[in-house]
């Protein structure tokens, strides 16, 4: 019963975080700020949804597979985000800044 409630909370929170990230990818003005929205919510939403599914599975083979997917997404999603931001910086894409860089920006 308590496990069911926890799993429900995790699944709904994971879906909510995913929708927030999808709104953020439309609302932010710049590639790098959009990358902030997608990179963080992608990992957190995946963790929450897989945690909810793992609580439902209990101790079984399905839980082991869920754990493998969890581990893999947890390792590769930040790596992909970092590689993408590095490739964008390497190709000369500039972030969009307000104001002049000398006065109110470092």
């Amino acid at each position: 019963m308590i496990v069911d409630a926890l799993s429900w909370i995790c699944l709904v929170l994971g879906g909510l975080v995913g929708v927030i990230g999808a709104i953020g990818i439309h609302r932010f003005p710049d590639f790098y700020s959009r990358q902030h929205a997608t990179g963080t919510t992608d990992t957190l939403g995946a963790i929450l949804i897989l945690l909810g599914l793992g609580l439902q599975a209990g101790f079984s083979l399905a839980a082991l597979k869920i754990g493998l997917i969890f581990l893999f997404l947890f390792l590769t999603s930040p790596a992909a985000t970092h590689a993408l931001a590095y490739a964008a910086t390497h190709s000369g894409l500039k972030p969009k800044l307000d104001g002049t860089p000398g006065e109110d920006m470092p």
Partner: protein
């Protein structure tokens, strides 16, 4: 319970696909497709629990692996090579650059 998560993921997929279609730079499109792939893995995993067929978890695992490899391959092409090139000189120069 699973239906709620599936609906949220499908809404996310639609919004992310819209960004992938209208993104100004190519990096916006790649970021959107990366997020699309991750959400697809989650959708398949939730669908496995909804339908009770645990075989679908294997497909989700394989899809996560393919997604990461495709992401790195696309990034290498964008950063170091020509996206639509097929002649051998260009491929050779890419190899020399990375080696």
């Amino acid at each position: 319970m699973y239906i709620t998560a599936i609906l949220a993921i499908i809404v996310t997929l639609g919004l992310v696909l819209a960004r992938a279609l209208m993104g100004p730079t190519i990096y916006d499109r790649i970021a959107a497709i990366n997020m699309f792939g991750t959400k697809t893995v989650l959708l398949i995993a939730v669908l496995a629990f909804l339908s009770g067929r645990m075989d679908l978890l294997d497909i989700a695992l394989v899809y996560a692996l393919i997604n990461f490899i495709a992401m790195v391959a696309v990034l290498r092409l964008v950063a170091y090579g020509d996206f639509y090139s097929s002649d051998e000189e260009n491929i050779e120069s890419v190899k020399v650059d990375q080696g």
